[in-house]
């Protein structure tokens, strides 16, 4: 296989990787932004940036955390660039967003509860559960100590326990 063929094969594989992960990138962007249109913009920018930076991805197995990191940064960049207003999620139409809709009332409640988690709890939780990032990777991405990551993840789940019908447990110091 010559260099040109290798290049096209790699390019094709990378595109397939983006196609495969795009749905979860969109979901992650949505949980970050809580706005479908912003999420779509963020993912488009992410795909462009990922394409331009594809040589940085040495290990395809690391594509998911790598792309989630780009989504997060593009989301921050978009807010910085457009100076999008931040809003209280209680007032936001997002809670009635059809994107959250499901026939399962309990699942809908859980989605709404996740929407209402403070950013500091929601973001690491989604990075972990949807993105598959380890607590160490989350700490590196959010520039938090391991202890802080554990505490935030614990508190996120502890808040959601009641929605799931479980008793919350004693908070951690």
């Amino acid at each position: 296989m010559n260099a040109a063929s290798r290049g096209t094969t790699v390019a094709g594989a990378f595109t397939r990787l983006l196609e495969m992960l795009r749905p979860d990138l969109l979901r992650f962007a949505y949980w970050l932004a809580r706005d479908r249109q912003v999420a779509e913009d963020v993912v488009q920018e992410t795909l462009i940036r990922a394409w331009k930076s594809r040589d940085e991805l040495k290990d395809p197995a690391a594509a998911r955390p790598w792309l989630f990191t780009i989504v997060r940064r593009e989301h921050a960049r978009l807010f910085e660039r457009k100076r999008l207003p931040t809003v209280d999620v209680d007032e936001v139409e997002a809670l009635g967003d059809p994107a959250l809709a499901t026939d399962d009332a309990a699942l809908l409640d859980l989605r709404r509860a996740i929407m209402q988690l403070p950013d500091e709890y929601r973001e690491p939780l989604v990075l972990q559960v949807l993105g598959g990032l380890s607590t160490a990777e989350i700490g590196a991405e959010l520039k938090l100590t391991q202890a802080a990551v554990l505490t935030r993840l614990f508190r996120a789940r502890n808040r959601l326990r009641t929605i799931y019908g479980l008793e919350p447990v004693e908070d951690v110091e």
Partner: protein, 222 residues
């Protein structure tokens, strides 16, 4: 589950933070402590629901016109980059088209859950909007004139005689030279030339029979 001992509080911090991956000393404690074991089981159960909650269906992520333009721009930039990389897409247009068809169908995954026949008038309206004519041999249970690569295309789901659903996309502005089969993300499909355009068929239920594909294409006119 309150007023826990210090070692239990520590264990619950780790369990609550990451119930799937516990350090060895925490795992040993959980093994020996019924209350912490129950807490872990509850948290693992909660996590199953968390996965389901975060795994949103993407059917509602249809883009507004201005955004579709941007998507098209993205596609163009990717195509350009691939041309620079070696002309891959120039020589494999059907592969790219198949990928876009799959991505589109995945965004409307709920379309495969429809079972009620669409009224003929509604199907006719979809065809009119999408600039196609199609006398479907099978009942149409879902249909929409979807935005696709800068145009409207008829995106239908039909109920086949064996009870499975099959997506039929009529794409008048994309010509493919030859029949191309593809499989991705649990779907199998085929792109078929149809006059000046093409037809994409997709199913989650095995391969699409040649006779089925041929019959559908024979009923498509632009």
């Amino acid at each position: 589950m309150s007023a826990a001992a210090p070692e239990c509080r520590q264990a619950r911090l780790y369990i609550g933070a990451d119930p799937h991956h516990l350090p060895a000393d925490i795992a040993a404690h959980v093994e020996a402590c019924a209350a912490c074991r129950r807490f872990r089981e509850e948290t693992l159960s909660l996590d199953g629901r968390l996965h389901a909650a975060l795994d949103l269906p993407l059917a509602h992520f249809r883009r507004a016109a201005v955004v579709r333009t941007r998507r098209f721009a993205l596609a163009a930039s990717v195509v350009f980059a691939m041309i620079v990389a070696g002309g891959f897409w120039l020589f494999r247009p059907s592969t790219a088209l198949a990928g876009e068809v799959v991505a589109h169908v995945e965004e409307e995954a709920d379309s495969w859950n429809s079972r009620d026949n669409l009224p003929a008038t509604q199907v006719a309206e979809i065809m009119r909007t999408a600039g196609a004519q199609f006398d479907s041999p099978y009942p149409v249970v879902y249909g929409y004139p979807c935005p696709f690569k800068g145009h409207r295309v008829a995106h239908l789901v039909v109920l086949t005689p064996d009870g499975t659903t099959m997506t039929v996309m009529l794409i008048p502005h994309e010509h493919v030279r030859r029949r191309t089969e593809f499989a991705r993300d649990g779907m199998s499909g085929v792109l078929l030339p149809a006059g000046k355009g093409s037809v994409a068929l997709l199913t989650r239920d095995g391969a699409i029979a040649d006779s089925t594909a041929d019959e559908i294409v024979s009923r498509v006119h632009w």
